[in-house]
Every structure is written in C-alpha cells, then in structure tokens.
C-alpha cells in the first residue's frame, strides 16, 4: 500500500535569483527576487502564501524575518536549520502541513549574498567544542578527513574525485544559468591549489550569491495551475552527528538511512530514477551519496564516476545543472537540488534535458556530512 504522504503535495512554481554575483544586494533581497519569479511561474499571488518555510545562514529567526520582508502572515511556518539540507527537509514539512490542512500554499525559500559579502562561506555556526582549538578549516577540513579515509579504505584516488568535478563542469557547460562554464580537465583539478589535503580548490563548491524559491500546494489545487505539477513521492531525513569527530564512520553517511526510507515511501528503487541531484559541496560528497543511496556498492564510488559515467551522455544523469561545484552555491545549496529535479521533470532544461525524465531524486546534505535528507519527485504519470 502506498505511503500516506506519497503524492500529497506538488511543486507548482519555482524561481531563482539569476547570476551568481550580485554586488550591492542583500541575501533577503535575492530571496525575494526568487519568490517573485516563483509566483510569476505559477500565477499565484504573494498573499496566497499561508505556509512559510525559510532558512538562511544569517537570520537567527529566518521565518519571521522572511515573513516580515515579504509582508505575509503565515498560518504555519518553519525556519529550522539543519544545514544546507534544511530546504529538502522543508519540502517534507510543507507536505505534512499541506496534507494536514494547516496551510494551503507553502513557500520554501532561501537567499544569500555570500560571494559579494566577502567571498567566504557565511555561517552562524558556533565554534565546535573540543574541535575549534585545532584550527580545522570549516567545512573543508572535515570533508578532507572523510575523503582521506575513503582513499585509505577503498583506494579512491584524487583523479576519481576530479572526475566528479569534471562531470559537473560538463553539465554546467550545457546550462546557461551556471556560474562556472569554462572547460575543465582532470589535470586542472589535480594541479589546483591544495587547501586541506586531499581536497584542492577545484574539489570545492563555488562561492556565489543566489536566491531560490518553490511554491507547493496539494495536488487538487496544483491541477488548476499553469505548469505541470511535480509531485512529491517521498522524503526522509536522518542525522547521526554534528561534529566531524563524532561521525561514527567517515565513509558511511546517514544517507544510508534517508535514501532507503525515501525510496520505500515513494515506492521506487534506484533503477527507476531518471535523474539525480546530489548536494556536492565537495567532490567526495557525490561519491559518498552514490554509494550510500545505493547506486553503487560502498567503496566503489570512485571507480563508478570514472570515464564520464555521471557526465552528459553517461549512464547515470547526476547533477545536471552543474551542481554546487559548477552551477551555484550560495552557502546552502539544498533547494537548488529540488529545483533542478523539478525542472527536469517539467522537461524545461534545454540542452541538458534528460529525455523523458519521470522520476527525480534530490538529496540534501548539511553541516559536515551531519544531516542527510533525501526526496523523490515524479510527473503525473508516476502517481
């Protein structure tokens, strides 16, 4: 029997604030631009929104701040922060609130000006007790420790990590919205400046500005709106640690739990999924999530991504917008995974469109591999 949340909400509108560099703009201004675009996309009005799900890296109370800025008075809101995966979790929360009738039109939104505000990752994070004194560079050193362990246990190579960055760039070359579209080779990645061994500058995501928003409703309302609804088929979250030193095993993420639970809710298996959007803050992420979500065996992720398998024309379509590595990364990338999956299912992706895509997976990661949230979306015929 289908899970009671399967198919109970849909993305009806989506929008982004274009261009990765927006001097003179605040994060909340970019968020509002994306909301404007998402409303125009679905034909709803700002005051139709009565459910608000927003998180940023700079607001201690993001829901009231965003609600006030937009001038809306939501009946239900959530601004919880579990890192960049928060927005994938918000899609689950919005589905619950819509299905329960607590709200009728839910907005999930994000904005950040971290590129022009200083060019570094903006974080509200407190210093990690028992870690801060050692001067690890956050978050990269934490991901470097995970990559080093993966290389030690499974023989994963820097060239395999680089293959992830090159595949992402090849997708970005097909996406006019992507921030980094210059040609990139494995050698370029291997020769780029080392930051925290074994991760070099080109193993790291971009630092851009950006804003993103989606509008969700129940399926009955969605059918009356202009765009083909992108239906929620399932989502699940899991977190096992906050600090990297408390991660039980640096090669095994909680996506091992969020993935299967999501697939069970959606009633689909890996082979049913046409397109994957994985939170690639660093090259090691893509390898870890391909393994932990079940697309290859543990330890085989490095070999799996070689030879263009996840690049355009490869066997598996992964991060078709160019990902956080080459498309956009304003500090919290999660909502962009959902937006790209939705665009693929709408069939509006132009040169990078996956033909006949019906089921898409969007996976969010937060903190230092700390929180994992998986979601699966489908076209009407998958209901």
């Amino acid at each position: 029997m289908a899970h009671k949340l399967r198919g109970k909400s849909a993305i009806v509108g989506l929008g982004i604030a274009p261009d990765g560099e927006r001097p003179g703009r605040t994060g909340i201004e970019l968020l509002a631009e994306a909301v404007h675009a998402a409303l125009a996309d679905c034909g709803l009005r700002l005051n139709d929104i009565d459910g608000l799900f927003a998180t940023t890296a700079v607001h201690s109370m993001p829901a009231p701040s965003v609600g006030e800025y937009l001038g809306i008075q939501p009946k239900y809101s959530n601004g919880s922060n579990i890192g960049g995966s928060s927005f994938v979790a918000h899609c689950l929360g919005a589905t619950l609130a819509l299905e329960a009738g607590l709200c009728d039109v839910a907005l999930v939104a994000y904005g950040s000006n971290q590129r022009t505000a200083g060019g570094r990752l903006v974080t509200m994070s407190e210093p990690m007790p028992y870690e801060a004194i050692y001067g690890a560079r956050y978050p990269i050193s934490a991901y470097a420790l995970a990559a080093a362990r993966h290389m030690h246990e499974f023989g994963t190579t820097r060239a395999q990590l680089a293959a992830v960055a090159v595949a992402a760039r090849n997708w970005a070359e097909l996406n006019p919205e992507a921030f980094a579209r210059d040609p990139l080779t494995i050698e370029d990645v291997l020769n780029s400046r080392m930051i925290s061994d074994p991760l070099s500058k080109l193993d790291c995501c971009l630092v851009t500005d950006g804003g993103a928003a989606i509008i969700m409703t129940r399926p009955d309302q969605a059918k009356d709106l202009p765009r083909p609804p992108v239906y929620f088929l399932g989502a699940a979250m899991a977190h096992w640690h906050r600090m990297i030193s408390a991660m039980p095993d640096l090669t095994q993420t909680a996506a091992q739990e969020s993935g299967p639970r999501t697939m069970e809710m959606a009633g689909v298996a890996c082979e049913d999924i046409d397109v994957l959007e994985l939170y690639d803050a660093f090259t090691i992420n893509t390898i870890l999530f391909l393994e932990d979500l079940g697309f290859c065996a543990k330890g085989e992720g490095g070999a799996f991504v070689e030879g263009g398998r996840i690049a355009p024309g490869g066997a598996l379509a992964v991060n078709t917008n160019g990902g956080g590595l080459s498309c956009v990364h304003p500090g919290m990338y999660g909502l962009y995974t959902v937006i790209e999956a939705a665009r693929q299912l709408r069939g509006t992706c132009g040169a990078r469109q996956i033909e006949n895509a019906k089921i898409g997976l969007a996976h969010g990661n937060g903190g230092v591999l700390s929180s994992q949230v998986t979601s699966i979306w489908g076209t009407e015929e998958t209901l």
Binding site: Y134, R137, S141, A148, S196, S245, A246
Partner: protein, 133 residues
Amino acid sequence: MTFASPGPERQFQDFLAEGKFMIQRNIKTGAFIFYPRVLSPGTGEDALEWVEASGAGTVYSTTVTRQRPEKGGDYNVALIDLAEGPRLMSRIIDIDPHEVTIGMAVRAKIGELNSEPALLFVPDKKDLSHYGP
C-alpha cells in the same frame, strides 16, 4: 543523584590545565566516553566516573591544513581513535604534518594552542612505521 558543579566540560578543561588527560567511564557498562557529558550518549546512564586516559591512540584520518609560511605554515588536523575506544580531533606535532599517516600510533601530550592548554598527540616512538620502509 546530584549533579556536581562545575559540569563535565569545565572539569575536563580543569584537568587539562593540571596536565591530566581524563575521560569518562560509564560505571555500569564500563564504556568510555569522549567528549565529556552529563549522560552516557545513547543509553542515558548518569553514573559516570573520570579516569585517566592511557594516552595511546591511532590516527583514524588526517589532513594537512595548508597555510602560507608567513602565517605559520602548514599544520596537521587529525582524528584519533583512543585505545579506550572514543574518537576525538587533535593535532599531531613533532612531525612534518605531511608525514602523518592513517593508522600511525600516537601518544597524547598536553601542550598549548593559542595560549590555552590543549590535548595534542605525538608519534608513538615505539611505532616506527612512519619513518618509512
């Protein structure tokens, strides 16, 4: 039970300032705990005692944080599995940070970072594997 003041985090720091590396042990299960807590993580027992750690550990993972020489140069950040079981973050000193390898035996050494007492680790001299074949 009554909870003594100060709490475990402050007690750990005070021990460190006295030159002692102490970890907690769950009196009922015997499990060692780091970082210090009020309750045994995952099981909830509050009967915990402080014991001096052996100081022996193994490098679980390691990274070299690159830094320009004029800012102090490259330095190591590592995760250490203590002989008692728990894992923690630290820095391996008294060795070129690029020479630290996963699996290397290390030993605790209390030193200072940023003028504060800090738990550091040095290569265990009984283990010569890091000197190469």
